[in-house]
Symmetry: C2
Subunit: 282 residues, 2 copies
C-alpha cells in the first residue's frame, strides 16, 4: 500500500473495472453480447464474473451487495444483464455498477413489432426447449466422437458433412462444435501423405464427395501447432506441412470441394463458414 | 390460392414474420440474444436465417435487398443485427424490416462508462482471439474424446472435472460443451450396476473425489431416453433406471459429491450449474 512504485503505477493507469454478467438463466447470452461489446475496447486482463440463475428478488439483492462491495473498493464495475423478470431487473438496476440492460433495452421494441406482450418467463434460449432438439444434439455428439479422425467409416452415408484436412487444421473441434451447437451429423477424415498419390479423393469418400468440406492452413502456423504435439518430428517440419497443405488444396480444387484456410479462424468462425457454404443451417 | 379454407386461416392468424440474424462476424451473438428475446413470445416455427460475415457496405446492400423482398411479399421481417461498423449498420438500418441494433444500442453507454471510443472493428467475441485459448480448447476437446465414458483412466489426474452418472444422464454432451466453450479438461465416468455393491466411489475415482460432479435424472425420463437406444431392454426398463438413479444419488450424498438432477436441463444449463458449483470458471 505504501510502495511508492505501486502508487505511481496506480495513478498513471486507472485499474480496469470488474465485469459482471448476470442472468436468470445460464448467463451465456449476457457473456456473449457483453464480450462482443468489450472487444471494442482495449480491455485485456479484465476480471470477469458470471452469476447465472438469479431468479428471485432476494437473490438479486445478494448480487447487488456483491457488486456494491466491488464498487466501494475500487472502480465502478460494468454489469451486463439479460435478466427477464421485471422485478429482478429492477433490483439489479439499483447496484452501484454501470448497468447494461441487454434484455430490457430491446423487449419494448419487440413487443411493438409483434403486437403482443412478453411473457416475462426467464430466458429459455439455452433451456432444454424441445426434447427433440436435445436428443438430436446428443446423437450428433456421439456420432462425432465415433467418426472422429476417420476412426469409423461405418454409417458415413448418414453424415450431413465430412470435414477433410491434414492433421491439426481444426477438424475435430469444428466437428464437435457443429454437433453440439447445431445438431449436425458431422464426420471428419484426415488426409495423410498416402492420399496424395493421386489427386482424387480418398476412396472411402468417393461416394460422398458432395458432403465434403476441406480445411487448410498456413505452413508456418500448422508447423507451430504440430511442434507442440511432436517437437522436432518430420510430421511437424515446415517442409512436411507445406507439402501436405499444398497437396490438400490441390485436391480440394480438382474435386470441387469447398474449402477454407482456417489458419487464423476460431472454431466458431470456421463453423459459421461451413454452415453458410454448405447450406447446412437446421 | 383460391382455397376458401386457406384464406379463412390466413385471415384468422397473421403469418409469422421471418427473422434475420445479421453480423459482420459469425452471427452467434445476434442469434443468441435475438433468440432469447424471441422466447418471450409464442413464436414456434419461425423461419430464421443467419447471414454472417457482412463486412462491406456492398454486402450490406445485398442483404437489405433480400430483406426487402421478404417484406414486400408478406409480413415485415424482424432483423437482429450485431454489426459493428457504423457504415454497415447504417445500410442495414435502411431495410424494410424491424431493425434491432443489438450492438449500437449499447456501445454509446459503454463508451461513456469506459471513457474511450469503440475501435469499430468487426466483433471479435468469436474470433480466434488469443492463440493460447484456441489451443487450450482444442486440447480440451481431445482430452474429452479420449476420456469419454471412462474409456481411458490414464491421465485422470490431469482432469479438472470428472462427471459421473449412470448411462444417458448427459455426461458426454456436457463434457464436450465444457471443453469446447470453456477449455476445461473434463473426463466422464459411467456408473454401472457393479459400482453399487458398496456406497463408496468406484476405485479409479477414489484419489479424485474432489473433482467429481454427479448427474442424475428422473426414472421415467431416463427410461424414455434409453428406450430409444435399446427398445424393450432391461437396460431401458423403468425398474432398472429407478434402481441406478437411486443408488447413484445415494452414492453422491454419502461421498459429498455435488450433483444435480439433469432430467429437464439443457446442456448449457447443466454446464453453467457445474461451473458455478465447482468454481471452475476460467
Amino acid at each position: 500500500m505504501t510502495d511508492p512504485h505501486k502508487s505511481a503505477v496506480g495513478a498513471a493507469t486507472q485499474p480496469a473495472p470488474m465485469v459482471f454478467f448476470l442472468s436468470d438463466s445460464t448467463g451465456i447470452t449476457a457473456e456473449t453480447l457483453g464480450n462482443t461489446l468489450l472487444t471494442q475496447f482495449p480491455t485485456q486482463g479484465l476480471d470477469r464474473r458470471t452469476i447465472p440463475f438469479i431468479t428471485t428478488e432476494e437473490q438479486a439483492h445478494e448480487v447487488v451487495a456483491v457488486i456494491d462491495r466491488v464498487a466501494a473498493s475500487g472502480r465502478r464495475p460494468l454489469v451486463f444483464s439479460t435478466a427477464v423478470s421485471p422485478e429482478v431487473r429492477a433490483v439489479l438496476a439499483q447496484s452501484a455498477g454501470h448497468f447494461f440492460d441487454l434484455f430490457g433495452a430491446h423487449i419494448g421494441q419487440l413487443e411493438q413489432a409483434l403486437g403482443s406482450s412478453a411473457n416475462g418467463l426467464p430466458g429459455q434460449a439455452h433451456g432444454v426447449g424441445d426434447a427433440a432438439r436435445y436428443q438430436s444434439r446428443m446423437a450428433a455428439v456421439e456420432y462425432a466422437i465415433e467418426h472422429d479422425d476417420g476412426q469409423s467409416l461405418r454409417a458415413l452415408e448418414r453424415a450431413e458433412l465430412i470435414l477433410i484436412a491434414p492433421s491439426r487444421c481444426g477438424k475435430t473441434p469444428t466437428t464437435m462444435y457443429l454437433a453440439l451447437q447445431h445438431g449436425i451429423l458431422a464426420a471428419n477424415f484426415p488426409l495423410v501423405e498416402e492420399d496424395f498419390g493421386s489427386m482424387s479423393l480418398p476412396e472411402p469418400l468417393l461416394p460422398f464427395a458432395s458432403k465434403c468440406f476441406g480445411l487448410s492452413s498456413l505452413p508456418v502456423r500448422l508447423s507451430q501447432i504440430r511442434q507442440e504435439r511432436r517437437p522436432g518430428s518430420k510430421y511437424a517440419s515446415l517442409s512436411q506441412c507445406t507439402y501436405e497443405l499444398r497437396n490438400a488444396e490441390d485436391m480440394y480444387r480438382v474435386n470441387n470441394v469447398p474449402h477454407v484456410n482456417s489458419a487464423f479462424m476460431s472454431v466458431e468462425e470456421i463453423s459459421a463458414t461451413v454452415l453458410q457454404r454448405m447450406h447446412l443451417h437446421h
